[in-house]
C-alpha cells in the first residue's frame, strides 16, 4: 500500500543500490501495513572509506540503517536510525540510535532531490561522525537532549551566574507563571538572603552532562553526585523549593551544564529544566513540614519519590542574552534598545510607534495623550475593542507592557500643551533620549517651538511624524539640540526644500496644500469629531515603520543636523517614492531692538558674502553694497527667518559714502518667492555693508527707517529687518535690527 511518494523513494534507493551494491545494499523493505503508514527500508552502508579519528564514533565496516519513509514523502522527510544502540549518548544521536541529520530541516531538506539528496546527507553525516567533525570548530555545538515529557515550558531571561571551579547552587525567581509556562527572573545564590517569592532550584555545573539526560530521578541524582554534589545538598535544595512552591503548583528545578557555545570556543551553560508534579510537590511539602527527628517522614517521602519517579523534563525556551542573538541586531530598530523615549500622542501613529519601540527593547517609555479609545478608531489604531473608553495612553501602556513587561512604561492622560507650561512636567517630558511627537498637531509643535525659543538648555532630539490625509504619505522630521528651532521651524524648511524640487510637488501639495479648501474634509462622525485622515491600520503601519526606522538610523549616525524624510505609498506612485533633506545650522543673530531671533540660512549667508565679494572685486573693498532679504517674520515666536537674499538691484547707488538700495525687480522677486514657496518666503527687509567698519546703523540708516515705516504709502509691511555686514567678505561682522511700524506709530 505504498503511496506514490514512497514508490518513488523505493525506486530511487533501488537505482542507487543497483548502480553500486557495494556502497548501498538494500536488506529489507517493510511495506506500509495501512494507508498513511511508513515504508521501512533497512540498508547496509559501506563505511570503510571513512577516515576515523579519536573524537569520532567507531563505525563498523558496514553499518545497518533503518530508514522510515513517510507516506507523504518527499513533502515530509524520511528519518534514519542505527539498528543498534552502540552510539547512544553520542552528540547528534538521539534516543540511543536515531541520527540527528538536519539542524534546520525546513531549510536543509530539499524535497525535489528525493532519496538521492537524503542518502547524500546520510553519507556526509557518517563521514563527519567517523572523523569527529559533527561539531566543527567555530560552529554552534549541538546541545544535549532532555526529552520533554511535561506540557510545560520555562523561559530563562537573564544570564546565569558563572559556576566557577565546583558548581553553583541556588535559586531562580519565577516572575511570571501560567499553566503552561514559567518565566525566570534573577538568579539567587544559596548564600544570599532568600526572598519570599516563588522559586525554582538551580544547579549549574562547570562540566558536561551525558548527551542524553537521565530519564529517572534516581539516575539524575546519581549523575549529579558523580559530578561532585552531595545528596544532602540536593535534598536541601529540593526541600526549600517545595516549601517555596505554593499549593497546587509544581516545583521546578533547573540544571545547567557547560554544553552551549561554539565548538572550540567558550562554553556557556545549557539549561535543562524538570518539574515535580503538583501531587508530589504537595506530598513532599507536607512531609517536610511534618518531619521531625523522631519521625523523619520527609526522608521516606523523598526516597520513595526518587526511586519510583521519572524526570518530567520541560522544554526550555531560551531568552538569555548570552544565548539568544537578537534577530533585530542588524536592523535600524536596534538603536531603540535600552533608550528612554517620551512619546507624545498615542493615536494612530503613536500607538504604532509604541509597539515598534517595545519590540525593539526600549527601556523607558513615557506615553502622553489626552484622548480616549473610541469605536471608530479601532480600524486604524492598535487598540482592542475591549479597550473602548480607556485613555489612549493607558491602552497603549497595556499593549507595551504585554509585549515586554520589563519596559518602564509610564502613562500620562494629559494635554501636552498644558504640560509644557509646567516646569516639573516639562522636565519629565524632556528627561529622555528622544521625544517623539506623534500628535500631528501644529499647536503641539508650536508649544515645543516656543518653549525651545526661550529655553536654550540641552534637550533631547525631537522626532515628529505626520500622515497624509489619505493615509498613503508620511512626513518625519528630526531636530536635535544643536538646531536653532524645532519641528515647526524645520517643517517650514522642509516645505521650502520640497518647493525647489519639481519631483516633490506631490509632497508639497499633500502637507502644505496651496488651497486646502480643494481637499474634502473627512469627519468620521460629522459634527462630533475633528477632521482626520482616511486610512487603515495597515496603511498606518506601512508609513510609521519606515519613518521610525529612518529616525533610528539618523539617531544612530549621531549627526547633529536636522533632517526630514517624506514617503509616498499612494497607489498612483509607480514605485515607492521618498524625499530627504537635511540642513546646515542657521547663522543666528539677536535682534538688537525687540528681542527677536534672526535665523539666517547658510545659503542666504553665503549669498550675502557672494555679493559682498563681487562688490570688492568689481568696485573695490571700500564701496558699500547690499540687497533685499527674503524670509518670514513670526511675531508669536519672535523669530525672523532669512532664507534668500538678492544682490543690489540694478537701480541701486553704491559708493564709499553709502548704499542706496534700488527697488527695480524687487517686487518681482518677492512675487516669485511668494508663489514658489506657497507664501512662506516674502520680502522682510534689506541688507547692506559697512566695509571695514562696525555694523552699527548710521544716522542715514536710522533716518531711512523712519522715512520708510512712518509712511504707509511707501512701504506697507508691519516690520522691516535691517541687516548690516561690517568688516570684509573674508571676516564679516553682522548685526540685525527689526524695525516695527508700531514703534513709529506711537512716536
Amino acid at each position: 500500500m505504498r503511496s506514490e511518494g514512497q514508490a518513488w523513494a523505493a525506486a530511487q534507493l533501488e537505482e542507487m543500490s543497483s548502480a553500486s551494491p557495494e556502497a548501498l545494499d538494500i536488506l529489507a523493505m517493510t511495506e506500509p501495513a495501512v494507508e498513511h503508514d511508513k515504508l521501512i527500508v533497512t540498508v547496509s552502508v559501506n563505511c570503510r572509506s571513512f577516515e576515523k579519528s579519536d573524537g569520532g564514533i567507531s563505525l563498523r565496516a558496514r553499518e545497518r540503517l533503518r530508514i522510515s519513509i513517510p507516506w507523504n514523502f518527499p513533502l515530509n522527510r524520511p528519518e534514519v536510525e542505527f539498528t543498534h544502540d552502540r552510539f547512544g549518548g553520542t552528540a547528534h544521536v538521539q534516543w540511543g540510535h536515531s541520527i540527528c541529520l538536519f539542524q534546520a530541516p525546513d531549510v536543509e531538506w530539499q524535497a525535489g532531490r528525493g532519496m538521492f539528496g537524503f542518502m547524500q546527507r546520510v553519507h556526509d553525516w557518517l563521514k563527519a561522525a567517523a572523523a569527529g567533525q559533527l561539531d566543527p570548530t567555530g560552529m554552534p555545538l549541538h546541545p544535549p537532549v532532555a526529552y520533554p515529557v511535561a506540557n510545560f515550558r520555562v523561559v530563562p531571561t537573564r544570564n546565569v551566574p558563572e559556576p566557577g571551579e565546583g558548581f553553583w547552587s541556588g535559586y531562580v525567581e519565577i516572575t511570571r507563571e501560567t499553566v503552561y509556562v514559567a518565566e525566570f527572573g534573577r538568579w539567587i545564590a544559596q548564600n544570599e538572603v532568600i526572598p519570599d517569592v516563588r522559586l525554582a532550584s538551580v544547579i549549574l555545573l562547570p562540566t558536561e552532562m551525558p548527551f542524553e539526560y537521565p530519564k529517572t530521578v534516581l539516575d539524575l541524582l546519581v549523575a549529579l553526585i558523580d559530578r561532585g554534589l552531595t545528596l544532602s545538598m540536593l535534598r536541601l535544595l529540593m526541600t526549600i523549593t517545595v516549601l517555596r512552591t505554593p499549593p497546587g503548583k509544581p516545583a521546578i528545578f533547573v540544571l545547567g551544564a557547560a554544553m552551549r557555545g561554539i565548538a572550540g570556543g567558550e562554553r556557556l551553560q545549557h539549561l535543562a529544566c524538570w518539574r515535580m508534579s503538583v501531587e508530589q510537590t504537595d506530598k513532599l511539602r507536607a512531609a517536610a513540614v511534618a518531619s521531625t527527628e523522631e519521625n523523619p517522614v520527609e526522608d521516606q517521602a523523598f526516597y520513595a519519590w526518587a526511586f519510583e519517579s521519572n524526570v518530567e523534563w520541560c522544554r526550555v525556551l531560551e531568552d538569555r542574552p548570552e544565548i539568544v542573538q537578537r534577530r533585530d541586531r542588524e536592523s535600524a530598530s536596534r538603536w531603540w534598545r535600552g533608550k528612554r523615549v517620551t512619546l507624545v500622542g498615542c493615536g494612530a501613529i503613536g500607538s504604532a510607534v509604541a509597539m515598534i519601540l517595545a519590540k525593539a527593547g526600549v527601556a523607558k517609555l513615557r506615553l502622553i495623550d489626552n484622548g480616549v479609545v473610541t469605536p471608530g478608531i479601532l480600524v486604524r489604531q492598535g487598540f482592542r475593542r475591549d479597550q473602548i473608553g480607556y485613555a489612549k495612553s493607558s491602552a497603549t501602556r497595556i499593549a507595551v507592557v504585554a509585549a515586554d513587561p520589563g519596559i518602564d512604561a509610564i502613562e500620562e492622560y494629559s494635554n501636552i500643551v498644558w504640560m509644557l507650561t509646567d516646569e516639573a512636567k516639562r522636565a519629565e517630558i524632556l528627561d529622555a533620549d528622544v521625544v517623539i511627537d506623534a500628535t500631528a498637531s501644529s499647536t503641539v509643535a508650536a508649544a515645543f517651538e516656543v518653549h525651545f525659543r526661550h529655553h536654550q538648555a540641552p534637550r533631547p532630539p525631537i522626532v515628529s511624524m505626520v500622515v497624509g490625509h489619505n493615509g498613503d504619505m508620511g512626513l518625519m522630521i528630526l531636530t536635535t539640540d544643536k538646531s536653532a528651532g524645532a519641528t515647526l521651524d524645520f517643517d517650514r524648511r522642509t516645505k521650502l526644500a520640497l518647493a525647489d524640487r519639481t519631483s516633490s510637488a506631490k509632497f508639497l501639495e499633500e502637507f502644505w496644500p496651496a488651497d486646502p479648501t480643494r481637499r474634502a474634509i473627512f469627519q468620521p462622525e460629522p459634527g462630533c469629531s475633528s477632521p482626520t485622515f482616511r486610512g487603515s491600520y495597515a496603511d498606518v503601519l506601512s508609513l510609521v515603520a519606515p519613518m521610525t526606522n529612518v529616525a533610528a538610523d539618523w539617531l544612530r549616525e549621531g549627526i547633529g543636523l536636522p533632517r526630514s524624510f517624506a514617503i509616498d505609498l499612494s497607489a498612483d506612485s509607480k514605485c515607492r517614492s521618498e524625499a530627504r533633506a537635511s540642513w546646515r545650522p542657521y547663522h543666528v543673530l539677536p535682534d538688537s531692538k525687540h528681542g527677536y531671533e534672526v535665523r539666517i540660512t547658510q545659503e542666504a549667508m553665503s549669498a550675502i558674502l557672494t555679493w559682498t565679494r563681487r562688490s570688492e572685486r568689481t568696485a573695490g573693498d571700500r564701496v558699500e553694497t547690499g540687497g533685499a532679504l527674503f524670509g518670514q517674520v513670526d511675531e508669536f515666536l519672535k523669530v525672523v527667518w532669512i532664507d534668500e537674499v538678492s544682490g543690489p538691484p540694478p537701480d541701486s547707488e553704491a559708493s564709499r559714502e553709502g548704499f542706496v538700495c534700488g527697488t527695480q525687480g524687487v517686487a518681482m522677486m518677492h512675487k516669485e518667492k511668494l508663489s514658489r514657496t506657497c507664501g512662506s518666503v516674502t520680502f522682510v527687509g534689506m541688507w547692506h555693508t559697512h566695509p571695514k567698519a562696525l555694523p552699527i546703523p548710521s544716522r542715514t540708516d536710522l533716518g531711512a527707517m523712519v522715512q520708510l515705516l512712518a509712511d504707509k504709502e511707501t512701504f506697507q509691511g508691519r516690520s522691516f529687518l535691517m541687516l548690516i555686514v561690517g568688516g570684509t567678505s573674508g571676516r564679516p561682522i553682522l548685526s540685525a535690527g527689526l524695525f516695527l511700524r508700531g514703534d513709529y506709530d506711537q512716536a
Binding site: 519631483s503 538691484p649 516669485e672
Partner: protein
C-alpha cells in the same frame, strides 16, 4: 569663452571655483578651462588675462603663426606635397574603381594599396598646428597636461578621434581613448590638447598626431586625427557622468555637476528654406547636434532626480529667458547674445560685457536655486 568667463566670475564670487575638483572641457571652452587650470594666477589676474585674450582674439595669433613663423612653410609644403599626391591618388583610385565597375578588371588590391598610401602621407603643418603654435606662444608655453597648477583639480580636455570616431581625452591623470589605450611617454602639451579640442571641423582640419599607446599591457603606435571634442560630446560631460568613474580620466565620482554651455539654443525660424546643399546640410548638422545635446541634458536632470547626482546646474547661454526660475531686472537677454559667433575673433568691450554679464547672471540664478548647498 566670454560667457564662460562670466560663469567663472560668479562661481568665484560664490566661493565655488576654488573647490571644483574636476573640469572637463570641449571646443572653445577648453581655452578658458586650460587658462584656469594651467596658468595658476589668482582670479583677478586670470580675469584680466582672459579679457585681454578676448579683446585681441585668437584668430590673429593663427594668422601670425601662418605668416610669421615656420608654420606657414610647413603648411605650404604639406599642401604642395601631400595635397598634390593625395589628389593624384584620388584620381587614380577613382579611375581604377571605374575600370573595375565597368570593365570588370580586378583593381581592388590596387585601390586598397592607394588608400593605404594616403594614410602615410605626411602632414607637416595646418591651420590647426598654427593654432596650436599660437596657443603655445601666447598662453601655455610648453606646459604639459599633467602639470595642473590648481590644487586637487583634475582636468580633462576632450577631443574626438576621427579615425575611430571615439573620444580622445587629454587628462591630467592620463591621456588617450578606449580604442587604443593610454598615451605613453611624455605627456602631451596643453596647447596641443586645446588645439585638438577646439579644432571645429568646419573651419579647421584635424590635428594628425602619432602616439604610442598601451592597452591591456601591450604597446602599439597609432596615428589619430583629432578634431573638436564637441563632435563626440558637446558638453564634455560624458566622462563626469555617474557610473563613468572608471572612464579614461580616472576622476572621483561626481556629486555635483555644473555645465557651462555657450550655445545659442533653440533655432530661430529660418527666414529662407534650407533647400540647397550647404544650407540643408548645415541645418541638419545643427539639428542632430542640438538633439544630442538635449538628450544629454535630459539624462543629467534624470541623474539629479533619482539621486545619482546630488545636484545638477545647467548654465546655458541659449536658455529661454522665460524658463529661468527668476530673472534680475537687468538680465542680459538671450536675444542680445545668442548669435555671437564662437570664432575666436577680437571682441568689442560691449560684447564682452554682454556675454560675461549673462554668464554671471545665469550662474547666480542657477547656483542659488539648484546648487545652494555648494556655497559656503
Amino acid at each position: 569663452m566670454a560667457f564662460h568667463l562670466g560663469c567663472f566670475r560668479a562661481l568665484h564670487d560664490r566661493g565655488i571655483l576654488d573647490h571644483v575638483q574636476a573640469i572637463s572641457s570641449v571646443s572653445g571652452g577648453s581655452v578658458l578651462a586650460a587658462c584656469w587650470a594651467y596658468r595658476g594666477e589668482d582670479f583677478d589676474a586670470f580675469d584680466k588675462h582672459v579679457v585681454e585674450v578676448l579683446r585681441r582674439g585668437i584668430q590673429g595669433d593663427i594668422v601670425r603663426e601662418v605668416f610669421g613663423s615656420l608654420e606657414g612653410l610647413k603648411i605650404i609644403a604639406t599642401l604642395l606635397f601631400t595635397g598634390t599626391l593625395s589628389s593624384l591618388i584620388w584620381v587614380l583610385k577613382f579611375t581604377t574603381s571605374r575600370l573595375r565597375l565597368f570593365l570588370g578588371i580586378p583593381t581592388l588590391p590596387l585601390e586598397r594599396a592607394l588608400q593605404a598610401a594616403v594614410h602615410v602621407l605626411p602632414v607637416w603643418g595646418s591651420l590647426t598646428t598654427a593654432f596650436e603654435a599660437g596657443l603655445s606662444r601666447r598662453l601655455f608655453g610648453d606646459t604639459t597636461v599633467d602639470r595642473v597648477r590648481r590644487p586637487n583639480l583634475a582636468v580633462i580636455i576632450n577631443a574626438c578621434d576621427l579615425t575611430t570616431g571615439t573620444a580622445f581625452r587629454f587628462g591630467s591623470g592620463r591621456s588617450g581613448g578606449w580604442r587604443f589605450g593610454d598615451v605613453q611617454g611624455a605627456a602631451p602639451t596643453v596647447a596641443k590638447a586645446v588645439a585638438a579640442s577646439a579644432a571645429f571641423p568646419i573651419l579647421l582640419p584635424p590635428l594628425i598626431e602619432t602616439f604610442e599607446f598601451e592597452k591591456k599591457g601591450e604597446r602599439h603606435s597609432h596615428t589619430v586625427a583629432l578634431t573638436d571634442g564637441g563632435v563626440f560630446d558637446n558638453l564634455g560631460v560624458a566622462v563626469l557622468e555617474p557610473g563613468r568613474a572608471h572612464d579614461h580620466a580616472q576622476i572621483e565620482p561626481v556629486t555635483h555637476l555644473i555645465t557651462l554651455n555657450a550655445g545659442g539654443g533653440q533655432f530661430d525660424v529660418s527666414r529662407s528654406h534650407p533647400y540647397w546643399w550647404v544650407g540643408r546640410v548645415a541645418r541638419s548638422f545643427e539639428a542632430v547636434h542640438r538633439k544630442a545635446q538635449d538628450a544629454v541634458y535630459q539624462r543629467l536632470h534624470k541623474y539629479a532626480e533619482v539621486g545619482d547626482l546630488q545636484a545638477f546646474g545647467m548654465i546655458y547661454l541659449g536658455q529661454q529667458d522665460d524658463k529661468l526660475p527668476w530673472a534680475p531686472a537687468d538680465l542680459v537677454k538671450r536675444a542680445q547674445v545668442k548669435d555671437y559667433p564662437t570664432d575666436f575673433s577680437p571682441m568689442s568691450e560691449e560684447n564682452i560685457r554682454l556675454l560675461t554679464s549673462r554668464g554671471e547672471q545665469l550662474t547666480h540664478i542657477i547656483v542659488e536655486r539648484y546648487l545652494s548647498d555648494l556655497t559656503n
